[in-house]
Assembly symmetry: C2
Homo-oligomer: 203 residues x 2
């Protein structure tokens, strides 16, 4: 799958489950008026598009390749059958879906209660944890990520994201360019995310 290709589309019936072998996939939900929200990014080894086969059989979001991708998919029936035969697998699936539910609940709380800057910090930290790669300047997010993407993760606009990153850049916290972000001072970002004083009080 080349970058920018759609692996499946919101509303489409789900015949299969998916797992990502290589590349990166973005899960995007679109509202009735076309507003988009990034639900999550999928990395190698993760399953996706499985929620549909556990619920009403329709994909609740779009999946689009962010980098060139290799995926593996299997018929939905195989999954349920496997779970019937090996309960451990069902329990495992439950714990995965449960974990995701927790994460979305946390994001809901963030979006509902925190200011934009903190939300952006949280989003970047989450991405670092999930797709961080050490480079000499700091930690780089290992796939193409536009301002628009970050905006759709945090419920703001690309303009505000751009301004925020510019501000951070001038403070030496991040370095960012076209679809690419490097965090130079992760601890500073954590301070922002936790709403601590930006510089540790001295004395």
């Amino acid at each position: 799958m080349p970058a920018a290709a759609a692996l499946f589309t919101q509303g489409e019936p789900a015949a299969a489950g998916h797992a990502l072998i290589d590349g990166r996939v973005k899960i995007v939900q679109t509202g009735p008026d076309g507003q988009q929200v990034v639900m999550r990014f999928i990395g190698p080894g993760e399953m996706f598009g499985t929620l549909a086969i556990f619920t009403d059989g329709l994909y609740p979001a779009d999946a689009v390749a962010v980098a060139d991708c290799v995926e593996l998919s299997w018929p939905a029936a195989a999954m349920t059958e496997l779970m019937d035969r090996h309960p451990v697998i069902a329990r495992n699936a439950l714990s995965i879906v449960g974990g995701r539910l927790r994460e979305v609940q946390n994001r809901l709380r963030e979006v509902a209660t925190e200011r934009v800057e903190r939300r952006i910090a949280h989003a970047l930290l989450r991405l670092v944890r999930q797709a961080g790669r050490r480079v000499e300047a700091g930690v780089e997010i290992d796939f193409p990520l536009s301002r628009q993407d970050v905006a759709e993760m945090t419920g703001t606009t690309l303009h505000t994201v751009s301004r925020t990153l510019s501000a951070w850049e001038s403070q030496g916290i991040v370095e960012s360019g076209r679809q690419q972000v490097v965090i130079r001072k992760p601890h500073a970002l954590v301070a922002i995310a936790e709403d601590l004083p930006p510089v540790p009080p001295r004395g």
Copy 2:
């Protein structure tokens, strides 16, 4: 359980799953700085507090009784054992948790992209669907619900909720009092939620 009692508390280890026989329970998540978000309301016949036993064993939120409650609880081990014995049960649990995940994702999209008024309308409609009771004046939400509660469901402040409800009241859309809301014109609320013109264009 008398009203306002806590059934369990965020962070506490979960020894048991719960089901509500009668009454109403509010699930509230508290952030590091004390800001609260209402995740959902539980009605009779619904299970709750089960996410913990599927994941890390710690309750991710508080459960507090909103009205006097009767609950039933069972040891966590019984649940997993039951699922191992009867895979159908596991599949069922999966579909319930999956459904909740979808719902939270939808709320995330709403909070991230919609204006306050629409969010409040959505929240009320959701409550009507879940706990609506027909009365002569319209549909009443069948349990005590404060402005603060609505605010915590929609990511705003009780002040804004109060102002919004007042405005709707003066338009005859709702009737509200102390911890109590009656929707007089559900269709008008839907119009607001869907961002349609408030009065149908005539001609």
